[in-house]
Symmetry: C2
Subunit: 189 residues, 2 copies
């Protein structure tokens, strides 16, 4: 239907999101996305120029919500900055207990496509990680001596992404808690 352009596009993005999350980007064919969304492949190619275009659009929809979640978890935790950061890890640890948990979509997707340097997914992943780091940095600048803030933000990001990778690989959420403790220790120190 011509009037209802948005729902069609959204249906495609929703279907793509589910499939990409479940099986990875490379493994999901455009045919599969079309079938899952109940539309024809040709219709999909009417709304998206290419599969890469679809991937980019899919990642865009995930960027802000992801950071917002971290910010909410940070804000909702009582205590020092170290406690609040550890709160993020604790919430992630709880999330990771769900059997369908697949870690950080940006990290996963970026590593999956790391061999294609200019790929939109790499750029999206890079931008997302930078956004998280910058937010952490601003948080530390507000509550601590400024010269440590950038380094500290980087180190917390390293622990965060390390935990995403290791928890995913070992299927053991307790690594997320170990990462949270390490982060708290680095911040407190």
């Amino acid at each position: 239907m011509a009037r209802t352009d948005v729902p069609t596009r959204k249906r495609i993005l929703d279907a793509a999101g589910k499939l990409f999350h479940a099986d990875g980007i490379r493994a999901v064919s455009v045919d599969a996305v079309a079938e899952k969304s109940g539309l024809t492949k040709r219709t999909l190619y009417y709304h998206f120029r290419s599969k890469d275009d679809l991937i980019a659009a899919y990642l865009e929809t995930r960027d802000q919500p992801n950071l917002a979640l971290f910010q909410r978890w940070f804000a909702e935790t009582e205590g020092t900055t170290a406690d609040k950061v550890q709160g993020i890890f604790r919430q992630l640890s709880a999330s990771a207990r769900h059997p369908k948990w697949k870690g950080c979509g940006f990290l996963r997707t970026s590593v999956e496509l790391i061999h294609l340097p200019g790929h939109p997914a790499i750029l999206a992943g890079r931008a997302h990680k930078k956004r998280v780091e910058d937010w952490l940095c601003s948080v530390f600048e507000e509550s601590r001596l400024p010269e440590d803030a950038r380094l500290l933000a980087r180190q917390v990001l390293l622990l965060l992404d390390g935990a995403f990778a290791v928890v995913l690989l070992h299927r053991d959420p307790s690594y997320m808690d170990s990462a949270g403790e390490a982060a708290a220790q680095l911040i407190r120190d």
Copy 2:
């Protein structure tokens, strides 16, 4: 030649190794490996039951050398345990400056294939990471109070893998140094 079975198999593994490292496992076709090794695909399938079998054999060849490298870097660095661990990160930081550096093959491959739970590459990655962690744990047990050793080993592993992922994604080896500093700080503390 029947007498010289080993070289053929090795030629295939070498070719596969180069291609897998350069382009990723999924992206490399069996045809490509066959062509690179100067043999026919059918010959490849004579020596390896399947592509997965080839992948598993390829990863096996990378397991011990990788850990041995860490151990060498650890042993060759002077100073405290914290210094020695930081030495590993420093060496990795130097390695990461080579333009062809692609991070940890086990981590990259495991994340690439994470959606296939029983895949040999996942099992190999898991086993490799466990081996590194166990080695770190034994190192810490020898030089520190035993109850902290396991947690510390896990946290260093988290920093290590976080750095592998973040350095790869951002193409910025200095994250490896930040990880090393964090590790040293956790150990010293």
